[in-house]
Amino acid sequence: MSKIFSIRNKLIGIILLISIVSYSLIFILVYTRNSNEEKMNFLQDNKLHAKLIAEYCAVPLDFNFVDEAEHILSKLKVQTDILNVILVDKKGDVFASYVRNTQLSKFHFDKTNETDYFTDEYLYLYEDVLLKDARVGGLYLRVSKDILKQNLLVYTKSLLLILGSQLFIVYFLAFFLQRIITTPILTLNKFAQEISNKQDYSKRLNEVKTDETGILYSSFNLMLNQIQKRDEKINTDKLKLEIKNDEYIEINKKLIENNKELKIAKEKAEESEQLKSAFLANMSHEIRTPMNGILGFLDLLKTPNLSESKRSNYIDIVNKSGDRLLTTINDIIDISKIDAGQMIVIIEETDIIGLAKDLFSFFLIQCKEKGLRLNMEILMEDDVYITNTDSNKLNSILTNLIKNAIKFTQRGSILIELSLNGKYYKFSIIDTGIGIPENRRKAVFNRFEQADLDGELAVEGSGLGLSISKAYVEMLGGEIWFESKENVGTSFHVTLPLNN
């Protein structure tokens, strides 16, 4: 919005233009009227002078007193604008004359022209010299228009000054009074801009005026009302949509979760199905084999005349098979207890060094029988180290690990290591056995898994041992892990917290 063509300036401009036009008309009218009036006044004034002179001159003319007439005329010196006077007698002959300034151009009067008239420079007057209503002569005057011109100039100047100051006043009035019209419009403008900038349709104009601006204001407010209502409706609709959208998102989430749960459930179901199959296959083997052994050798024992050595050998096999069966059944009971959450942890004071020494002694004979070396390293300064833990479970864990080591090691040695590591103590069972193949490592702690279930090297065992050990370690707040290299050996490590 250009400042020059603002509504305010337009208004002032219009007022000024109207004023100028009307003042110009007034000037022309007044000037024409007054200049004519001035001219008439000038004529009348000089006419009066002429009449007076004529009256004064009448008697001298009547009595033919030339010097008296000239004496009267000479008194016109005080009338500076009367330049020439010529007094003629009845016949038109010059009787007396007067010249204000001898340097003036000569005054040629026209005997036949007995009227008054203006030229550019002078006023020419004629006056009858009357005595008792009888013409005794004539008077010709030439009057300078300087005074008239000067008066007109002064008059014009003052008129222009008055009109100019009026115009000035009009400008000032217009400047101050235009606010009556422009302020409401500018307010509306500003208000509209504000609304447009802030996008806030809740504002309203104060409706105070009762003229067209008032109507404009109320129309504007009405429009704002409509916009606001529409906006509110849009917002409400939007909100509703958003709520619905949220609901849909929520439902979607739930669906996804449900789906996941279903998937997990499905996986679990599949897994448990697989486990069940594996369990059944394994258990049938693990239970049937010793059972067959027991029943078969019990039948052989029925044979009469059996040598003492053979009978002793058969009883030994039955015994071993019974042990194996018992171990399997114990394992199954243990894992069932763990799964059912019925396994109880009993914390008591335990000497872990003593426990390690007992295990060493227990497995030393077995190792010697298999031709393996069993070593033990206690990396602690004390002879006895008491800590709170479930000694049965710890024993079970380590027994299982050592048994496994002996089972999977054909030659070489087995090392039992005990060390302290900060707040933990650590048992390591390190063997020089077949190792765990890469593809089996992940499933080591799973149930019914063995390092090489299908291979020739498969050994007896339920496959539940490591699974139970892992469950026990976790119950006691510890960790179990292993490192293995095929045909080199395997190291199992168990860390448990001191003072459980």
Binding site: V59, P60, D62, F65, E68, L131
Partner: protein
């Protein structure tokens, strides 16, 4: 021939000179006679008793003066105030009545007071052409100034007289009063 011619020339010059001289004196009284007629233009006798409102404009001359002849000549065929003019010569003061203008000749110096007393409150314009008469009470008195005929007006007496004099006349006159 030439002598006769010279005599003729000399005679002619002398004659012309005499004519000029007599013409001058005649001219003076004729002018005065004219002025007396003009005075009537500035005097208002109307509004006074009917006695003076006669069908003639009467000018009386008391005493001897060449003006009488001049007046008779001048107003033989001329009217004053649209009235035919009657010139009367009087010698007795008591006869002064019902006249418009009274010319007092210079030889009335002895009985001037008497004449003035007789006319002062009447509608009679007194005129004279003798030095000092104005101061005695004559309304208008002619005098010669710088070879021109002028007149003086005794304003006091004009105001006393039962007539109206136009003030314009004062402008060309010398104003005097009673001594």
């Amino acid at each position: 021939m030439s002598r006769t011619f010279y005599k003729y020339i000399v005679c002619l010059i002398v004659l012309l000179q005499g004519m000029v001289c007599s013409a001058q004196s005649i001219d003076e009284y004729q002018m005065k006679a004219g002025y007396i007629g003009k005075f009537a233009n500035y005097i208002d006798w109307s509004g006074h008793s009917e006695d003076y409102n006669s069908e003639f404009f009467i000018i009386s001359i008391i005493g001897n003066s060449p003006i009488e002849q001049a007046l008779r000549d001048f107003y033989m065929n001329q009217k004053i105030n649209d009235k035919p003019v009657k010139i009367l010569s009087i010698n007795d003061i008591t006869l002064i009545s019902k006249i418009n203008i009274l010319f007092i000749a210079p030889d009335n110096e002895q009985n001037l007071d008497q004449i003035i007393r007789k006319t002062e409150f009447k509608p009679i314009l007194t005129v004279s052409d003798a030095s000092g008469f104005s101061q005695y009470g004559v309304l208008i008195n002619f005098y010669i100034d710088n070879n021109t005929i002028r007149f003086e007006i005794n304003k006091t007496m004009v105001e006393k007289a039962d007539l109206e004099m136009n003030s314009l006349l004062y402008r060309v006159a010398k104003i005097t009063g009673n001594e």
